[in-house]
Symmetry: D2
Subunit: 287 residues, 4 copies
């Protein structure tokens, strides 16, 4: 939400004395103005996580030079996994949908108002029903039917489309097909799903019907990274809404949609702003 | 969310012994199957409120006959204000917007998916910027500029358009103009607004900036009936979201949009399903 | 929270036309003033549920006479399971605790302020550590150690104590022992537990540690009736609280306590006010 | 919640390049292990805020030496307001109550379980009714009646008691008297109140009755620092709970108590852990 151009540095490394001093010392030595900074130590794993926003025009060099120097002087000595991104470069997000439109409309509205300041190179669907609204927005719509006999072909095609589109991130906006292990592996840490339950409750199909059967008093939704194991990837964001005995499974579906789209939008924003760092099968989210 | 056709009876009357027995006795005497029923006594005002859903095909007569008999046998003796609506007759909702699209997109998505099973005879706006998406959905878009010198003319035109469109309900979906007292009076109990604060806090302009200045830890939105007094009409629904010191007014605007559209959609649904009964300057909401 | 004495009628029966008319017709015929009423049809099971509060002094007969007449004229023809309770008769609640004091203190404060207008004939514990505060409040404290070799003896003793104390309800206020199937059966529908997770997630031991391991973003608590199957009884109330990556399992335990005591207090109140009707393995809660 | 002894450094200063580097550089130079760190820039006021937890035994000197060196080398050059506290030194909290016991019991339970690891040198009340439970816990109870004619005398006495007790913090746990401007000034930033509304709504007396009259759909509570202006001090924490038309003001009082005690406990904990930094009439809360 900032006007000024800035770089976002996110990193993880083994914990030790002096990490913050070293990182921020490097930045300060070059006159870099830190707009926002967050740090976290996972005391169980001994990993250290950080995220910093640096005002771009306060640094005396460009990003390429920053990368080179920071790698040599800071990242390598600290054995860091790290990345730095530039707020002037828009992320490219490929959206996958099926028939339900609530998450798609929600993302389109956020994109239209520039709240979500991204490129959407294309929307992919296993149905053709949402073509109209997508194309009206000037976004290419690609219909990739998923055959029961040969889902691998569809998955391969999706992979090619994402690659051709130079998609940074793939969003499953209520895409009702299971991705192949190959695609999950190829796009590891870059596929975001919205699952319509408060995981780990009600994994798999028809979670609202499962929730109805169990008689829970709150239902929820979970935004998570997709991994090979169904609905088991690192959780980015969750939320719930209150229901009661008078709500049918169909009512829950309706309430649930509001939670799904909100949780997906929040989780996606955290991801796009490099606020999410994966820590084993969990996430550090610097909101 | 029901499949079967049903009638919704909503009513208010002075409290006394035997109201439920009389109303449900009448329905049972004709074989009417009550799907859902809610009752409420306001012990301060002595008013009694109710809402019942009756399966249409269990009654031996049509709605006109029901109206006549119920009036004579039940409503008049109990001095009732009442109405009965038919689930087979779609409500007609006129939407007013300005430049912000989040509530509009949200309502369109719900209408498109039939979650909101209404007619939208037209969308009215004091700007022309949202014409495209509205017309793409096959809904007429009417641009009614509001002149600084003569807002009365615009208000009169809005009133005519709503009347011509036979609008049951008018939704101010972040419409940033104040309606004239005449229009408020003419459409009393039928205009629903979404205000971007948790009323009664932060009445008037720029509530998120007011919230920022006061340093509150939660921000909210309020769906209410519009009356002559600004932001003071009966409240239908409210909700809040947590913020913290790191959120700028612009961040609050962004978070607030998610609350606004959700609260508006909930409040509108309650209204359209005849779940809201006005009780002085308050509402009874039979969710 | 009413000043006036009232009777609470709660009932379930097979759904058919005219139930409300029949029940409220009986009450109205005797001049009974209905303070509050709620009805619910479970469309899946075809069962019908209701709860009514009737002002005691508007009826021309006492509760015994009400029971006799209502049974013959209404309940039997409708094949009802029903009960009626008198607000002037305090419920008797036996509390079971282990070492943790948060739920106990919370219940004592509510009892002390008469928010919870009950008798507490005794507190039972498998430890002796909370004796002081209980006895200071004038409530008998009974230490029933649970031997590893012979838990059946302790369970039998608890059963005897509850029976001697004429306990209507048993509250497991973080009682960390599993009750025997015999005791569960003997007190079916009368034992309320607070489980420290948002069931059905994290059944069994150390749920906060399970939640930490899975990386969820909200933790919760569940108030439910105790049945033979561990943590699987009908859910009365649930709630959640937001956590993040910086919270250790110990932090979650601390946050969780606030949810536990609130959820237990709400669930217990619903139960004591006869607002909870069991519907298979689910509950109807007329809040 | 940490086992190891640590120091908590909290500070505010004018924003400039290199603050984090300077502070953490000083700590790292002496081998200090940073357990937790948070930073915040207020872009409107240009003030910079921070909080760090440093493992005590990783530093080669004691707190007095740290204070001296840090002041000279870091704090003075940066024009810092700062403090450092030692987790081994318990804070001393004086509690003021009136007749209502819910917040008091809640604080006592947290103190008893060591969740709140503080000293409570005494409880002061304008009534004598809660003496018993306080003294049972081994805490002195001081009755300071507040005369209508001479509240100044009571305020002066409270001031003396707090001073004699070397109270770091004063908690108004539903203390229903207004403190004198002198006392507010003398203990500025050290008195925490719980107000039973979601401020700035419903300032002053009987907020639940105000909320009932306005017909709001959520009620709340606010924990804030006490200043001369009633209910207008910097807000530390807030929360809300859903109500509906069926809730009387007395019901709201009951629901509200649960929010009050939870919000007070959270706000107090943030304050005691030096997580709250005052920024004009707002707070930075490093949760």
């Amino acid at each position: 939400m900032r006007q000024d151009r800035f770089y976002t540095l996110s990193a993880a490394c083994p914990d030790q004395v002096g990490i913050i001093a070293r990182v921020t010392g490097f930045i300060a030595a070059h006159g870099g103005w830190i707009l926002e900074s967050r740090f976290h130590a996972d005391e169980v794993t001994g990993r250290y996580f950080m995220r910093l926003e640096i005002k771009a025009d306060t640094l005396p060099f460009l990003l390429a030079a920053f990368r080179e120097r920071f790698a040599a002087e800071v990242a390598e000595p600290l054995a860091m996994n790290w990345r730095i991104t530039d707020s002037a470069v828009k992320k490219r997000v490929v959206i996958l949908v099926s028939r339900q439109e609530h998450c798609l409309y929600d993302l389109l509205a956020r994109w239209q108002s520039k709240e979500l300041d991204i490129e959407i190179p294309c929307v992919i669907s296993n149905h053709d029903s949402l073509r109209g609204v997508v194309e009206w927005h000037g976004i290419p719509f690609i219909h990739v039917p998923v055959g029961k006999d040969d889902p691998a072909a569809a998955n391969a095609e999706i992979g090619r489309i994402v690659e051709d589109a130079r998609g940074d991130t793939v969003v499953l906006a209520r895409y009702m097909q299971i991705l192949s292990p190959e695609l999950c592996a190829a796009l590891a840490g870059r596929i975001i799903n919205i699952h319509h339950s408060f995981l780990p409750s009600f994994v798999g199909a028809r979670p609202y019907h499962q929730a109805y059967a169990r008689g829970v008093k709150l239902i929820g939704a979970t935004c998570h990274y997709v991994t090979r194991e169904l609905d088991a990837g690192p959780i980015i964001e969750q939320d719930v809404i209150r229901i009661d005995h008078s709500d049918s499974p169909e009512d829950m579906v309706r309430y649930g949609k509001d939670i799904e789209k909100t949780v997906l939008a929040r989780g996606l924003r955290y991801h796009l702003e490099d606020r999410v760092l994966v820590d084993g099968n969990k996430t550090v989210v610097f909101r």
